[in-house]
């Protein structure tokens, strides 16, 4: 294999591929990136056995072929090369070396046979549809904070992407929960997605996927099967295993009949919660919310370190209510609100509380109260 490629294009492709390589990995081939050159493009493929990233870049291919080389080393080399340099990659399969040349720099890297590299078979996907990057970004960004980290409930370690009945008919929905809070985000159902089987997208995949979604104009091709999910832009293809489990019936825990409505400016609310929570250093910091007519008193009482109280003007017309929450959970859901006021719907101090943005039903959050 022998190719010439512009340094910028190479760096972009290699850095996206190498990010999936596990840092503390003991298996040599999994630290490598598979380089395949054919026609007028070169592909870089990296995997941690659960996720595979495939990156394409245009290149001048003098001799087609393929090899594998340490991903981080190659990335570091390319990163340190001067901008605009033309990089030549030349694989000598007999010597088991890949030479990297740019200007006066010359590197020789050890390679491993490409046959040892585990390539995820592009199995048949039952559902294929296209979604706008901005839409997918909203779905995952607003839900991922609620992903559980508890390994025993592995089926909560991801975002459940499925088709559900939203307020305007069928919707593409992402749900994540850790048992204490839950996020349910809807988007308009893309064409061709109606028959999609629900899949739980693992946390690491959600993180990797985020890197594909920065460009608002980009269309992402999504393919889903029972065991795999794939997101593809023209340059990058991200394929991942999904979580092998059943996502719990979350609809049961979303309160339907909460009537006590409080409306508050989300950022003011978040700042106030953050301030009063300062006095308590415990990990599960409880913040007490005292609601009276158009008045909210936030307070924290930590017997060891002190107490704090702050008053906020809110819109509230129901009877008095006292309810406690974990400060971190409140902060996280409040930070999801970016356009309108946050609307909290309470029932009693022992029941889950619902939060949404204005009257927007397409993003709903549920949080369990704490006893204070």
């Amino acid at each position: 294999m022998k190719i010439s490629i512009e340094r910028g294009a190479l760096l972009k492709a290699v850095s996206q591929a190498q990010s999936v390589v596990e840092r503390r990995n003991t298996i040599p081939i999994l630290a490598n990136v598979l380089i395949e050159a054919e026609g007028d493009q070169v592909q870089f493929r990296a995997t941690d056995l659960d996720i595979e990233v495939l990156d394409k870049a245009p290149a001048q291919v003098e001799r087609a072929g393929s090899t594998t080389v340490a991903a981080t080393t190659l990335h570091e080399i390319v990163r340190k090369l001067p901008d605009g340099a033309l990089v030549t990659l030349n694989a000598d399969s007999a010597a088991g070396r890949l030479t990297v040349e740019a200007g006066r720099s010359n590197f020789s890297l050890a390679t491993l046979p490409k046959e040892d590299f585990p390539v995820m078979a592009s199995s048949e996907y039952e559902t294929n549809f296209t979604a706008n990057a901005a839409v997918l970004r909203r779905l995952f960004d607003k839900s991922k904070f609620a992903i559980s980290t508890e390994e025993t409930r592995y089926y909560l370690n991801g975002v459940y992407m499925h088709v559900a009945d939203g307020e305007n008919g069928k919707a593409l929905r992402c749900v994540a929960t850790d048992g204490h809070r839950l996020a349910r985000i809807d988007a308009e159902l893309p064409e061709g997605a109606a028959d999609m089987a629900g899949v739980i997208v693992p946390r690491k995949t959600v993180g990797e996927l985020r890197k594909l979604l920065d460009d608002d104009e980009m269309d992402i091709a999504v393919s889903v099967s029972e065991t795999k999910v794939r997101f593809a832009t023209p340059d990058i293809t991200l394929t991942s295993k999904v979580i092998d489990g059943t996502f719990p019936d979350y609809t049961r825990v979303i309160p339907q009949a909460n009537t006590r409505r409080m409306e508050v400016d989300a950022s003011e609310f978040a700042h106030a919660v953050d301030r009063v929570a300062t006095v308590s250093s415990e990990r599960s910091r409880a913040v007490k919310l005292q609601l009276e007519e158009d008045r909210l008193i936030l307070s924290v009482n930590a017997p060891d370190s002190g107490a704090a109280e702050e008053e906020l003007a809110v819109a509230y017309g129901d009877e008095r209510l006292e309810i406690g929450f974990n400060a971190k959970y409140l902060l996280e859901i409040a930070s999801q609100v970016d356009r309108e006021n946050a609307v909290f719907l309470f029932n009693s101090s022992g029941d889950p509380t619902l939060m949404r943005e204005g009257n927007d039903q397409s993003a709903v959050y549920v949080v369990m109260p704490m006893r204070v």
Binding site: D116, P118, Y154, K241, I243
Partner: protein, 374 residues
Amino acid sequence: MSDAPPPPDQAPGAPHPRDAARLFGQARAEGDFLAAYGSDRLHHGWLLTGPEGVGKATLAWRIARFLLATPPAEEDGLFGAPEPPATLDIDPEHPVSRRILAGAEPGLTSVTRTVNDKTGRMPDEIVVEDIRRLGKFFGLSAADGGRRVVIVDSADQMNTSAANALLKMLEEPPARTTLLLVSHQPSRLLPTIRSRCRILRLNPLGPHDMQAALDQAGADLPADTAHLTALAAGSVGAALRLLALDGTRLYAELIAILASLPRLDRQRALALAEAAAQRNAGERFDLLLMLIDTALARLARTGAAGQPPAPEAAPGEAEILARLSPDPRRGRAWAETAATITARARHGQAVNLDPAALVLDTVFKIQDTAGKSR
């Protein structure tokens, strides 16, 4: 080669079990597995038992390779079901074989002892975290083909909490999952684990298979292998270990010391003890303890059977064994001594007793028994 210690599932001096292309002398066990595979009702938990070093792990890796490389049989097609496979052999150039060798097969995971992150040391047991890591493997959807294989090498090393964690997975593994447990002493496993596995027994190898297996392992064999074969008792792993650490000479030395009984040759015993106490002689020390155990076992057998076991494992061994253990009563005395010594040695190692002192203590105990039995 690097100076790093071999991985915990590799015997010293031997290749890693996943590297062995062929397995010798275990055709019956392989046949049993293939029959179960062909019967279309493959059990999900298998316990591979037998003495250490007869090829249990090699068989486990072979089964893993076979299962992952053999596509699930189609439902009765136009021409009926395809012939069931007659061998576990998989082409070493098969993509699955290549990936398994490179450690990059997504459908396979192996559980061994792992270095403790906090202390940086290799513990003696498989801890519960090692088993819990399987949760992640089982938690994600299966890779292509849908099969998943787990090798636990060895199951004996699991501590109780690890065993209990594994039990949960043995009870309800995901679909198309096979767990292969390698166990040298299945009686020491939790009965609940044993009862959930189908047992595949592997026997010691005959001389012919032994030779073939040693050749495959690339062993540098001495001209005369009679003593080695006798000492290894049908275990390739033991033979390789004896070869690597010059065990036959060590055993001959031990027998020479026994020959001086009941008036112990103290000089020689002292030299033996000091050699065992050298720095970095941990492996040799372990081997010496094992050989002492072997010698005592052979003494006990001599007494019980009325004649020394053939062939002899060191020059002049038969005569010495016959002299020290002439009748069943003394055979029993030796067996009792063996039990005490094993317990004492284990205790001594647990409390980090000076190896030299431990060896001397053992030798004196042997002398004691030899004196009594006269």
